[in-house]
Amino acid sequence: MTEELVITCIVCPMGCRIRVLKKDGEVIAVKGYSCPRGREYAVQEATRPLRVLMTVIPCINGDLPVVSVKTSKPIPRDKLLEVSRYLASVSVEAPVEIGDVIVENILGLGADIVATRPCKRVKN
């Protein structure tokens, strides 16, 4: 089975439209890129698109009610919503510093959930 994917390159503002031809899940041809970085990106997107997830989680006794977090590295795009939903039930106790690991190896994806904003402890 062959399929053709049209991918808009995001590596630079040119936004080249790159066509990736796949046969039985293997990339067999790439057309329409203007530079090697674009080709690399298109192949990645066509086989295993990755994204960093950003969200907020409740911070108990913090100076703000929530703290912002992200995945420590990109995770498969089709796992974004699953991770986001999982995090809806996670909270943390203040104080929190930037870089603190909140969840290790989230859903076994090999990425940690780390804080991106500090949250000071306030007495309550």
């Binding site: 995001i10 040119m14 009610p65 912002s68 986001s84």
Partner: protein
């Protein structure tokens, strides 16, 4: 106490200015109206910050805490929940501002002023959006503050008006919080945001983008927005009869642009450039009308990157130091920068020829394979892909400016 500089606003521009002044041994004070330092990046939890300044891809809070931590290390003074109401009593050597804070009203004095109060969001009234005054209508910044600072969801079925990066980023935020985004509506025939955001914020989640459409009317039920009427528009942005359709929503997010906050500057008699909507400045980022008043960041012009706002903060601080040391900046023959063909805005508006200067500019229409030309300097730069929504900048050398005439036209020409 007379500070070396009173800095109005504690965002990327103001904090960078304060860090530079303190590192060089000067004593600034920051006046910030919110209950914490940081400005807009505090609430921008997505990456895309720091690429120009730190060569790293940081989230907004990670970016701004590099400055906040430095401010604390250096022991820079700041006042929070303090709103600058007025710039009173202005002279060459002393500038006084009146601030209101929980402690009451007080006057703070500085040898120079760095105005870095950022931008305000355009409202539904500025775009003439008819309909009842209902709950559930928020600017993008308001929605972002609710969600990402306070953890409160503005709605569960939202429509976003405006396809700039701000609107696109908000669309993704809502989806990841399990809300439904019924669409992003854009009056132009192309999206204003970066390709990266079109792909990662809309296409990833199958959110429809309605180009050449606008919201014609909103309807409310029980005091909350319940429906939006979307219509196609023609080339003159006039609604096309018969093209309307209605979507059910419980929140409308307005991401229809930012404007430099210039009320205080206007009151002081500072001229405002109708193109940038910010003050008219020279290449010290000093306003042409009030010596020793420097402007940086989104108060000067809308910046796509916090990095640029911070760089303008450094620039304003260096100028303030020169002003303090020499009791004023040298007078000179000014070269006026004139936006020519296809050029929406250029800042700064005046060049001295006494220093190198960055020119920040935007084109006025999408251009492919064009070139940016400054005939007065013989400069020509290729523009492969230019959009009004992409901020451009280029460095001009002091020597080339010195040889220029009274007027320097900057234009973007198709090949």
């Amino acid at each position: 106490m007379i500070y070396d500089s009173v800095i109005i606003g504690g965002g990327p521009a103001g904090l960078a200015a304060a860090v530079k002044l303190a590192e060089k041994g000067y004593e600034p004070v920051i006046i910030e109206s919110r209950d914490r330092l940081g400005g807009i990046p505090l609430q921008c939890i997505h990456p895309g910050f720091g690429l120009h300044l730190f060569r790293e891809d940081l989230t907004g809070p990670e970016y701004i805490y590099r400055f906040i931590d430095r401010i604390e290390e250096l022991g820079v003074k700041y006042v929070l929940e303090a709103y600058v109401e007025d710039i009173v009593n202005y002279s060459m050597i002393s500038k006084k501002v009146r601030i209101t804070s929980p402690k009451g009203v007080e006057v703070v004095e500085g040898k120079t002023l760095i105005y870095a109060a950022g931008a305000r969001e355009r409202t539904r009234y500025e775009i003439g959006l008819p309909g009842p005054n209902a709950a559930g209508i928020y600017t993008a910044g308001e929605a972002q503050t609710m969600m990402d600072m306070y953890g409160v969801m503005p709605g569960k079925r939202v429509l976003i008006l405006g396809s700039g990066d701000v609107g696109l980023i908000m669309a993704r935020r809502f989806v990841l919080e399990d809300a439904e985004v019924v669409g992003v509506v854009e009056i132009l025939n192309y999206p204003s945001g970066l390709v990266r955001n079109i792909v990662q914020c809309l296409q990833d989640y199958g959110i429809p983008l309605y180009l050449q459409h606008t919201v014609k009317e909103i309807r409310a039920r029980n005091g909350r927005v319940s429906e939006a009427v979307i219509t196609r528009v023609d080339e003159n942005f006039k609604p096309i009869p018969g093209s309307e359709f209605t979507v059910e929503i419980d929140a409308l997010i307005l991401a229809v642009g930012l404007r430099p906050r210039v009320k205080l500057l206007k009151k002081l008699g500072v001229r405002i450039d109708p193109r940038s909507h910010g003050p008219v400045v020279n290449d010290w980022l000093e306003t042409m009308d009030a010596p020793g008043l420097f402007v940086a960041g989104n108060a000067l012009m809308i910046n796509d990157y916090a990095d640029y706002a911070s760089m303008q903060g450094y620039w304003a601080a260096e100028s303030a130091i020169e002003y303090i040391e020499n009791k004023g900046l040298p007078s000179t023959r000014w070269r006026r920068v004139v936006p020519g063909e296809n050029t929406r805005l250029v800042v700064p508006q005046y060049l001295s020829g006494l220093r190198d200067a960055w020119l920040y500019l935007r084109v006025s229409t999408p251009l492919e394979n064009a070139r940016l030309v400054i005939p007065g300097l013989g400069r020509e730069i290729p523009l492969i892909h230019a959009l009004p929504s992409l901020q451009l900048r280029l460095m001009l050398r002091r020597e080339e400016i010195q040889n220029a005439g009274e007027e320097l036209v900057v234009e973007a020409l198709e090949r």
